[in-house]
């Protein structure tokens, strides 16, 4: 027989009381696991939504301020350039420490020129990169792939009377219209989108870009850090997060996270108090037993270990049950409570954290009763002597 066998026998003897404590711990841990799972899943989904939404960082030349609206978002300092952005600046962005969080870098040159006898807005882009930051585009046709192809905004298509399959002469060469972008309320509606190199040639601005849009993967992306890193590698540029989107994301996630953590803390506190009171009651009920143990030669530390083992065993079982129940609850309630569209993945690290938390709470709730038991005077405990 070992000390744990005594604790185990005691747990079995008082199973009703300990099942109640176990249920309290499981409820506490389960609530925490469910809330944290939902919070994480919401954060991930908001991040994914933002990724789908497009660019969340805009880079413009450092210039005297002149407000311009692009893409429905306020962007500062586009016009009076002090030092223009270069095409190579777009590649420099991918050298920042958080480069793994950069999903798309879309440089563009914006200008106006005569096309087909009309005054037209020309935007030169890298089509593949542009597709990465304009995932919401609905195209009649397809995304252009090379310098011989162009795309038209819906208004530009009407004013130029060009449709998919037609050709436009640009920079001295005919270019095929391969797609017309459905109206989206942005500047793109009025634009002729062509390859960046072609636009630079047509507008007489070789190797120059007006702005660079960056799409950062928002799942856990440190966007403020990334802005700072980009500003460091591009000292001549102004790097600005699209604050509205970032702030909205942060607000939503932070509010829920704070709520989740506050509720978790309260529930865990209640769980710890239940464990504490259960163990205190158990120690009080077992005064005589503890006196026997002390009388037959158990050291204080050995008595404390028996009591602590019981508390930890209850909390271990409660932690595992709570983790599984919390995970199941978050999966079941996620779509209804948090409008989650993807199932919450099974997370072993969260399980490990839940069990560790339960054990820490068990140690916290069991320590005082264990110390009380250990300090019990054996003569007093036996009362007889």
């Amino acid at each position: 027989m070992q000390l744990r066998d005594i604790a185990w026998a005691s747990l079995k003897r008082r199973r009703g009381r300990f099942v109640f404590a176990l249920a309290a711990v499981a409820l506490g841990i389960g609530t925490v696991v469910a809330l944290v799972s939902l919070s994480r899943a919401m954060r991930a989904e908001v991040g994914d939504e933002l990724d789908r939404f497009g660019a969340n960082i805009v880079i413009t030349p450092k210039a005297r301020s002149l407000d311009v609206a692009y893409g429905g978002l306020a962007v500062a300092g586009l016009t009076v350039d002090v030092e223009e952005l270069q095409t190579k600046d777009a590649d420099t962005i991918r050298t920042i420490p958080n480069q793994r969080n950069v999903s798309a870098v879309a440089p563009k040159l914006v200008g106006t020129m005569e096309l087909e006898g009309q005054h037209a807005l020309l935007i030169g882009v890298r089509f593949k990169d542009e597709g990465g930051v304009k995932s919401w585009w609905k195209i009649d046709g397809r995304l252009a792939r090379n310098a011989g192809e162009v795309m038209l905004g819906s208004e530009a298509s009407q004013s130029l009377r060009k449709r998919k399959g037609d050709r436009i002469s640009l920079a001295g060469e005919p270019r095929e219209v391969v797609g017309v972008i459905a109206p989206n309320g942005s500047l793109d509606d009025q634009a002729v989108l062509t390859d960046l190199g072609v636009a630079q040639q047509a507008l007489g601005k070789p190797d120059t870009v007006t702005m660079i849009e960056v799409s950062a993967l928002c799942r856990g992306c440190p966007i403020e850090d990334m802005v700072s890193q980009m500003a460091t590698v591009l000292p001549h540029a102004r790097v600005a997060p699209i604050r509205q989107a970032v702030a909205a994301r942060e607000r939503a996630v932070l509010q829920f996270s704070r709520f989740a953590y506050a509720v978790s803390a309260i529930v865990l506190l209640v769980g710890t108090v239940v464990v504490l009171t259960t163990m205190m009651a158990s120690v009080a009920e077992r005064t005589q037993e503890i006196g026997i143990l002390r009388a037959v030669g158990y050291r204080r530390t050995q008595v404390a270990r028996v009591i602590l083992f019981e508390a930890l065993a209850v909390n271990l079982a409660g932690g595992i049950a709570g983790w599984l129940a919390g995970f199941a609850a978050s999966r079941a309630l996620g779509p209804a409570m948090a409008q989650l569209t993807t199932p919450i993945p099974f997370d072993f690290s969260l399980g490990a954290a839940a069990i560790l938390t339960a054990l820490v709470l068990g140690a916290a709730g069991g320590s005082y009763p264990a110390i009380r038991a250990a300090r019990m005077d054996p003569a007093h405990a036996l009362r007889h002597l």
Binding site: M1, I6, Q288, G291, Y298, R300, H384, L385
Partner: protein, 232 residues
């Protein structure tokens, strides 16, 4: 040679508030392999002497030695070790752990000593065999008679072969025949080398000891009566 010595031991309870002198200047010697009975009326100080000898109640003054060891100079944890290594306790109230079997109750002191499980079982089975309970090792205390429970308690007290057995009214809750059997058992244990110190109200039980010590109003009386002369 004395195994146990109490020298000028006093015990005052509630020292600072309302002092009660439970024991005054008590001196007592118990030899190895001696069977001593301590008699006295209620409140005379018997239990105080027993708890002091049991390393559970430090005296207010005086010196207590067991096997030459001044026990109250030990730390709290070493006192626990001392109880495990030197003492066996038998109480009037049986004080068995109700959710452990007879065998497990006997194994309790061995678990505290960190003895391997297999060896614990061997020793506990041997102790239960010595008290005549080898056929009821896996019963819970509630399934045993009062006499059988007392035998389990005695087996627990002797399982780790301590030199001194302390017994407090061990026959108090038993019928006279079972009580006689328990005292017979104490004699056999004494014959095997154990020193027995027994507290009792029962003159018939005390008469079977080698020596009777009387205590009254917290004083160990000088008149030590040889049991043999009483029974004769």
């Amino acid at each position: 040679m004395s195994l146990v010595e109490l020298h000028a031991v006093s015990k005052i309870y509630n020292h600072s508030v309302a002092p009660v002198c439970a024991l005054a200047d008590a001196t007592l010697q118990i030899a190895e392999r001696e069977f001593v009975a301590l008699m006295g009326p209620s409140g005379s100080g018997k239990s105080t002497i027993l708890s002091i000898l049991g390393a559970m109640n430090p005296p207010t003054s005086g010196r207590v030695t067991v096997d030459g060891l001044g026990i109250y100079s030990l730390s709290v944890e070493r006192l626990a070790d001392f109880r495990r290594e030197y003492l066996g306790f038998v109480f009037q109230q049986l004080f068995l752990v109700p959710y452990l079997t007879a065998l497990e109750n006997v194994m309790l002191p061995l678990a505290a000593a960190g003895i391997a499980n297999k060896r614990q079982r061997e020793m506990a089975n041997d102790a239960l065999s010595r008290v005549g309970l080898d056929d009821k090792t896996h019963r819970l205390p509630a399934d045993l008679s009062g006499g059988e429970q007392q035998r389990v308690a005695i087996a627990r007290a002797i399982v780790n072969a301590p030199p001194l057995l302390l017994a407090d009214e061990p026959t108090g809750c038993l019928d006279s025949r079972t009580g006689r059997d328990i005292i017979d058992l104490f004699h056999r244990l004494r014959d095997d080398g154990l020193t027995v110190f027994l507290v009792t109200h029962d003159a018939a039980v005390a008469a079977r000891a080698d020596r009777i010590v009387h205590v009254q109003d917290g004083r160990v009386l000088d008149g030590v009566v040889a049991a043999d002369s009483l029974s004769a």
